[in-house]
Amino acid sequence: MQRVLILGGGVGGTIVANLVSRKLRSQIDAGEVEVTVVDQSGNHVYQPGFMYITFGNEKEQGLSRPERSLLDHRVKLVVGEVTRIDEATHSVTLASGESLGYEHLVLATGSRIAPEEIEHFDSQAHHFYTAQAARRLREALDAFKGGSIVVGIAGMPYKCPPAPLEVTFLIESELRQRGLRAASEVHFCSPIGRAFTIESVSDMATPVLGEKSIELHTFFNVEAIDPERKVVQSLEGEELHYDLLVLVPPHHGAQFLIDSGFAPAPGGWLPTDHHTLAVGGRPNVYALGDATDLPLSKAGSTAHFEAPIVAERIAAAVTGRPLDAKHGNYTGRVMCFFEIGDGKGTLLRFDYDHPPKPPKPNRVWHLGKVLFNKAYWRTVPRGRV
């Protein structure tokens, strides 16, 4: 029996499970292979939708489905929290005490937010990385009658790199539509020396920030929040007054990956081969999605394009056939939509060797994102696209 154990039922883990079960259908039916997904909640959440709770009419219920409903019936699902991986015994321990063995291990454990690392974050700052936080930000925007809005980043790397810029654009657009723009300042704080990590995207976004009179503050690494004075302070010594503060919280990989010796502290990101997606040189352990240390966007799109590589490598290893080199090596492919506000968007499509060349923002790419959000459940988790 060859056991394929997949930790995490997000985009990456779910697609890998479905693709492996499709490729190894006969072996699974013959009882020679077992594919198991372990997920903490048993619910698959479409996280890109959170932003549309704040800026659209999306409801939390529409962004979550039972993981079981998305998995091929040949895939087993275990709902539980992983506490440790034991490499010596090729086993994973759950909080319940249950132990699961593996011959092939897939780490699709995502990233976790840690707002508690910034003092006063919870009482002063908003974010959009959970449904609850996105709803709270909506309420704060509804109550906003003018003043200073500051959007910043309190730690890198973080999930969905364009998101803070998108949120800034969408807030500015909303303020104009509500007649509050003249009574408001909008500030965007970037931790690096430009608006966005990828230079071509920064070159596209910077003039848009200027056109919308959004003030760009570069090298602003959020250090502290002073709730008395309502200022956010940077490591570089700047401070900005806020009436409404929106911060990307610090992100980390799963703690059990650090505890099990798979990922270094404090980040907890898995050292992952750029092309094979193997973890730390281990031939039977793969990582994908947010959990890796790859120099790519932490985004569902990345996991989506990585999943077929992991599935192909596992299927080849299980059956002993040669690897299909074309489908078994990751090229760094990522594709994501980028909202600009006013019903316009653009598209970021790139890989390790080809930086994105975002087209001029237009309505088509905004509608593309809206359509993709609707089509997600029928296509992506099932490995149909």
């Binding site: 931790p191 570069t218 090298f219 690494n221 490591l235 570089e236």
Partner: protein, 83 residues
């Protein structure tokens, strides 16, 4: 661009080779946060952007750029934490 041999002795070295922008800068920022005033930190980076981005950040953050040296195809950027 500075290109001098750092005379100050390095207390901490960060090997960020193989990491892409902004990885080396973020590694330096983490080290600055963790270190005492006066600590001299050397960042090794194979990303060519670092030799521009990191000195700019050091200037903005008010620390001291000790030197930028090219060594065997990568850069060593040395900074002293001043506050």
């Amino acid at each position: 661009m500075l290109s001098e041999q750092p005379s100050t002795s390095v207390n901490r070295t960060i090997d960020a080779r193989g990491s892409f922008c902004p990885g080396p800068l973020m590694e330096l920022i983490r080290a600055i946060r963790e270190s005492e005033v006066g600590t001299v930190i050397c960042v090794r980076s194979s990303d060519r952007g670092s030799r521009v981005d990191i000195p700019k950040w050091i200037e903005k953050a008010g620390h001291r750029l000790v030197g930028v040296n090219e060594v065997d195809g990568f850069d060593e950027i040395v900074v002293e934490k001043l506050h």
